[in-house]
Symmetry: C2
Subunit: 333 residues, 2 copies
């Protein structure tokens, strides 16, 4: 018989989860008391939070518990990297329906643990509640190693715009799943078919976390993680810094090629792939600006340059306004 | 026309919330970037998280947005105090239905801000999502000021058991509201009727936050915040420390008297009041153990003593097992 969350009390459920969550180097007091204690060697810590709600941020028919654990960790860890920090500790609040399989929760914990361990971080505490649908709330913490945090507001005219991580894969994977042109199995860890990179990119994003501290060390003047699409997130740097961020379409050609098999599987052309690259969210790559002449850290690709805002901070592509909003016009026309 | 959450986009809603949240002394980088930066002067921080789900932890027909903001802050802040820490920073995840009034969200932010400001803490970041019911997830952080954290596991035979804060008021208020014997208005900030302390105690608990660092300074050997009732939470110290926690019923007489008007309003006797004192949750007082001879800090009342566990850690009342579980038998018999 399938074991359900309602078959266990909170203590019993926690006893199944805790052993799946290894402690980290910064964990001084881990789960089990009123609060955890975490090391903050440079006298500050970076903190951010993200909430995932079932059927708004993920669907259980597409994402396994493991996938949701990886995704919840990844999108939070990327926020620490985007400040130039290294992730150290997470606390996790879970709302769980009574009929949810316990194996789903265990899978979630394993996904969370795997993504945290790869990043050098650990889950140090959490809270369980009943809920009508699955809710995941993560607060993530990191260490700046003595460096100044890289904000969104430091981009200056003349800076180079660069990006680390995949571009558009998550949006392509979502489009494939939505259209029924791919199944979640196509993105399973063991899958190797032509659609695997897109579906996996949607289910289990892998932000380039090392790129954050590397960009800070290279003198990055502004940085954020791309959660809502290149155009929209570049617009956030533009507004916070009072500049124009100009992207050069030619620099995106390899990304468009990378997405070509997904576009073909959907009967779409290269313009669909370009739309994914410019407007697709949830890849959680790092978009940063660097002083002219800076050596870009490994993993970063130059995408354009920063120009004076002239009182109208905005994003341009090859010097022109992206046609009709943040790019989905490519699907309309 | 009533303004609803769905009438605003996320940026516009955040623009209504942020001005209501003053920065704190530890806030180095506040809301608006990928993450906040918070001071951790002693090279460590304490962190805990709690999730509140509508209709499981609060009802909107009883609790205003302001009430839920105060409650969400209070129960989290108490976890920091229970480690001996002083709260510094919170991040808050919100799930909001589209038809929720914007004024409810603004009230929530004001309640959160008021409770945080009283505690010397500040909201430094957050995340908004849509949801079918209101969800609140808080992660709270604090500073230990160089002291060792007070865990649940340090109680030793011979220690004094003591408590700071109200006992049973939240349970009495919940019972009054559930029975229709009181209305939320009886607990409004301006209310002064005989039932006001109970209803207010349920709607807007006020944990004795200063008691946490004071207890640590006085040498407290174990401590936690009472969220699930004196008996149940004393049992957690007993099990973590491998001891017997013996409560003396006579020490609870003033608390029982304090609840007498609520019991009378419900046609109940003093045994109902004793049940609220022993088993009522969500007062978020601090239960601590101190070495024999220690001077109890202001606000703490001696409730009993710690005895050797003899391989069977447990809670006793006047040396005997509490009759039938954690106390609700008082309602049954």
């Amino acid at each position: 018989m399938t074991e359900r969350v309602r078959d266990l009390d909170e203590t019993a459920l926690l006893a199944r989860i805790f052993p799946l969550l290894p402690p980290g180097a910064a964990t001084l007091v881990g789960p089990g008391d009123d609060a955890a204690v975490v090391a903050a060697p440079d006298g500050r810590y970076v903190v951010s939070t993200d909430v995932l709600v079932e059927d708004r941020h993920f669907r259980r028919r597409w994402s396994t518990g493991y996938d949701v654990g990886v995704r919840a960790a990844a999108q939070n860890l990327a926020d620490i990297a985007a400040m130039g920090g290294r992730p150290t500790a997470l606390v996790v609040g879970l709302g769980l329906p009574g009929d949810l399989e316990v194996s789903w929760v265990e899978g979630f914990a394993r996904g969370l643990a795997d993504a945290c361990t790869r990043a050098g971080a650990a889950v140090v505490g959490g809270d369980l509640s009943g809920a009508d649908t699955v809710l995941v709330s993560v607060a993530v913490h990191g260490d700046l190693g003595g460096a100044a945090p890289v904000l969104r507001s430091g981009a200056r005219p003349g800076d180079v715009v660069a990006h680390a991580g995949v571009r558009g894969r998550s949006a392509a994977g979502l489009a494939l799943l939505s259209a029924g042109a791919a199944s979640p199995d196509d993105g399973a860890p063991s899958a190797h078919g032509p659609l695997a990179p897109y579906v996996a990119g949607f289910l289990r994003p892998e932000p380039p976390l090392d790129g954050g501290p590397a960009a800070a060390a290279a003198g990055a003047t502004a940085m954020l993680d791309v959660s809502d699409g290149l155009l929209r997130d570049a617009g956030r740097i533009a507004r916070a810094s009072g500049v124009v961020v100009d992207l050069e379409e030619a620099t995106l050609a390899t990304s468009v090629s990378d997405l070509a098999p997904a576009a073909r599987a959907l009967g779409e052309t290269a313009s669909a792939a370009l739309a994914w690259v410019l407007s697709g969210g949830e890849d959680h790559g790092l978009l940063a600006t660097f002083p002219p002449g800076a050596t870009l850290p490994a993993g970063f690709t130059r995408l354009g340059s920063v120009r004076a805002g002239d009182g109208s901070p905005r994003v341009t592509v090859d010097g022109r306004a992206p046609s009709a909003g943040p790019g989905w016009d490519h699907f309309r026309g």
